[in-house]
């Protein structure tokens, strides 16, 4: 009997094969240019083969007319037929179809989520008739041998169709919105200006861009208002300290000055001292959002980078599946055994040993649960290779967070001394950690600074050395950074944990937003302005969220996929009618901004291999030549550059090089076939 197992990525295929091979190593061979692992058991032969992410995608039905819109007819196509340069994917599909002919049983072992379920389903459905119906599903959250064996021995009897349907629906709806709205914008601009620029928007992209544009306009139109704060310096037993007035700020200058006048240079006394000890609970285990937020806070790693690194660690079987919204650890894992494994790593030996001394190990869990996966946790396996600096940082953060959740609450003592002077009350505040508890396990990521005040008692005399009314001004809301924008999307329930970081990257790539403190560019502002004018509903967060909720109910098996797709089309049709009717006005409004948008604002989605900063397409002011350059150049810290073809229209593709992983570019010239190339490999060759 032959069983064919499909995994999502090549590394996962190796882990699955190794886990299922009881003795020795699985045999690796190349079948039609695709690596396959053969596992031999007593009566069963298992072939483990990997997909390369999605091998099918939604595309226009019939002959694709790239400039035509609206488009309502679509089909699922093999990705190599829908996009150029997908030779590996073609080979992979052909190999799987060939192997499927000989197979007696099929298993989807892709990641257990909407995307993984969809990838496996589409491949099996088209590999052999009926394979999707008889196929079983492996469900696992780590790539450790024990869990993979358990997942194989206790497979779900059939594919997880609610997840598959949710995936089908999300891809179809997003394709319909993306293709129609983007083509409407691109074509309107092209017809008006005669030039070509790819403009895109989509169901979630538009609403996200609107957050940034609204914040931008709030900052640009901000008018500050004055207020006054009292800054007081006091002398307590020869020690100079800052005291706070009980009123934080004054809106009227005269009132603040009056307070300063009656207390400056005077002597007061301590009238009350309050000491309080509070407990600071350990943090929750990481879900993806909190992991991304912490990675940004401590390492300035943008969400897409931290997700990429976490996925790499997952594929190395070092951590559990990172695309999770759960704040709960799986009750099935043996915490003590896991900590014992971690204690073998010299970096965590001391902390793990301290936790092993605790009799009852109970993690402090949050209330969010995810039916597919638990919170992110380390598997305890030792890294088999030397981790890159970024990988080590994220791994260290995950391990320490995991350990911290088992720690005792920290105890913090706060002291507040109230000083009375001429009928006014000032406070002296101090705080210190009296029992570190979980903080010890989460160092250096947990920081509490002790603020000490000298010992005082009721009646202690306090001299007010200086009391000033200081003029301050109200501040505009801060700009978003990638982490806070992702949080805004999450709060508004738009996008999914898997797609949010990618959507932000797309906004950068399209030059709609720029900078670490994110600014909306004139093009981004213009896109929102046009969409607000002609199809405000597309930008409406409430509408986007409504669709998300409907898609979530498919995942729960409570809603039919086709009904949601039909509903989405019903909303989109009048929008497209409106856009088509105003094509000329939209084009005129967009084209002047497009012309002013320099190519220097095109940002690549891959980070600089030298320093990890953002890469841009830059045009030299001196020579006029375009090239890829690192933004670190402007900070004087990195000089990484790559040459680019000089002639033709340059487009950054959403694909990466199969050899080196760098982002591919396409150059189109009139009368020639478009050239798809990797700038990194080009220079090496």
């Amino acid at each position: 009997m032959t069983t064919l197992i499909i995994t999502e990525k090549p590394d996962a295929a190796l882990h699955v094969a190794e886990a299922l091979q009881y003795e020795g190593e699985p045999r690796k061979f190349s079948f039609k240019g695709v690596p396959v692992y053969e596992v031999k058991r007593t009566v069963e032969r298992i072939l483990v083969c990997s997909a390369l992410g999605h091998l099918y995608k939604v595309d226009q039905a019939g002959i694709s007319q790239r400039r035509q819109y609206p488009v309502w007819e679509y089909v699922w196509k093999p990705i190599h037929l829908a996009e150029h340069g997908r030779e590996r994917q073609r080979r992979c599909l052909n190999a799987i179809a060939e192997m499927a002919k000989e197979a007696d049983a099929f298993v989807n072992a892709c990641d257990f989520d909407v995307e993984g379920s969809l990838i496996g389903y589409m491949i099996l459905k088209h590999a052999r008739a009926g394979a999707d119906v008889t196929a079983k599903r492996m469900k696992f959250s780590t790539l450790t041998p024990e869990e993979l064996r358990r997942a194989y021995d206790h497979m779900l009897p059939q594919l997880d169709f609610p997840l598959v349907n949710a995936g089908l629906c999300r891809h179809e709806v997003d394709w319909l919105y993306g293709i129609n709205l983007s083509r409407a914008l691109t074509e309107s601009a092209r017809k008006s200006s005669g030039g070509y620029a790819t403009l895109s928007t989509g169901r979630v992209q538009g609403a996200t861009l609107r957050f940034v544009v609204e914040r931008e306009q709030e900052i640009e139109t901000f008018v500050p208002v004055p207020r006054w704060e009292i800054q007081a310096t006091v002398d307590v037993d020869g020690e100079t300290l800052h005291a706070e007035l009980e009123v934080e700020k004054f809106d009227i200058k005269a009132e603040a000055e009056k307070v300063a006048a009656v207390s400056d240079g005077k002597e007061g006394s301590v009238e009350d001292i309050k000491s309080q000890t509070s407990h600071v609970a350990p943090p929750f285990p990481f879900d993806l959002s909190s992991l991304q937020a912490e990675a940004y806070r401590h390492f300035r790693m943008v969400p897409r980078q931290s997700l990429g690194v976490a996925e790499r660690l997952y594929l190395d079987a070092l951590i559990s599946y990172p695309r999770t919204s759960s704040q709960k650890l799986p009750p099935s894992i043996d915490y003590r055994e896991l900590l014992q494994r971690l204690s073998k790593n010299p970096n965590y030996e001391r902390q793990a040993a301290a936790l092993l001394d605790i009799r009852d190990l109970h993690p402090n869990e949050g209330k969010n649960a995810d039916p597919a996966h638990p919170a992110v946790y380390p598997t305890g396996a030792l890294p088999k290779r030397s981790l890159e600096p970024r990988e080590f940082k994220v791994y260290d953060l995950i391990v320490k967070r995991f350990m911290a959740t088992f720690g005792h609450p920290a105890a913090r003592e706060t002291i507040k001394a109230t000083i009375s002077v001429n009928g006014l009350r000032f406070y002296l505040r101090g705080s210190r950690i009296t029992a570190a508890g979980w903080i010890d396990f989460y160092k250096p990521y947990a920081r509490f600074e002790d603020v000490t005040i000298p010992p005082v008692s009721k009646g202690t005399r306090v001299k007010f050395l200086s009391v000033k009314a200081v003029e301050k001004f109200s501040q505009p809301s801060p700009r978003y950074n990638q982490s806070s924008l992702l949080r805004e999307m999450e709060t508004n329930e738009i996008g999914t944990k898997a797609t949010r970081a990618e959507i932000i990257e797309t906004l950068f790539r399209r030059a709609y937003i720029k900078g670490n403190r994110i600014e909306a560019t004139p093009l981004g502002i213009q896109i929102v302005s046009v969409l607000e004018k002609y199809c405000a509903r597309v930008l409406d967060v409430g509408f986007t969220r409504e669709l998300e909720t409907m898609m979530d109910t498919i995942e729960l098996g409570k809603e039919k996929k086709q009904r949601v797709v039909d509903e989405a089309i019903r909303h989109l049709k009048p929008v497209m009618d409106e856009l088509k009717a105003h094509e000329q006005e939209i084009g005129e409004e967009l084209s002047s901004t497009i012309k002013q948008t320099p190519t220097t604002e095109l940002a690549l989605s891959v980070a600089c291999p030298k320093c990890g900063r953002r890469l841009h397409v830059v045009r030299s002011r001196k020579s006029g030549k375009r090239f890829i350059g690192c933004i670190g150049k402007w900070e004087g810290v990195c000089s990484f550059t790559l040459p680019l073809p000089q002639l033709g229209t340059l487009t950054l593709l959403d694909q990466t090089c199969s050899k080196c992983g760098f982002q591919l570019v396409k150059v189109a010239s009139k009368g020639r076939r478009p050239l798809v190339t990797c700038p990194m490999c080009y220079i090496k060759n």
Partner: protein, 76 residues
């Protein structure tokens, strides 16, 4: 007939001499002037208010442009 913004030459919003963004800045500016007068006990003139806004880093770019326009208009 459509009129154009006194600051940026974009199309004005109905009933205003400014475009959408500059009009928003103008409304904010007028509201803030009232607060400034209360804060400084009516000791601040409109001119001093506008001049101060131009010096403050917190003032938004569009608000700055409107303040500049109003100052120029007042001196004519």
């Amino acid at each position: 007939m459509q009129s154009i913004c006194r600051v940026c030459s974009d199309i004005t919003v109905e009933g205003s001499q400014f475009c959408k963004v500059h009009d928003r800045a103008y409304v904010q500016l007028e509201a803030a002037f009232g607060k400034w007068q209360v804060a400084y006990s009516s000791e601040v003139t409109k001119r001093a208010f506008l001049e101060r806004l131009l010096q403050l880093p917190e003032t938004g770019q569009r608000a700055r442009e409107v303040a500049g326009f109003l100052l120029e208009k007042a001196s004519q």
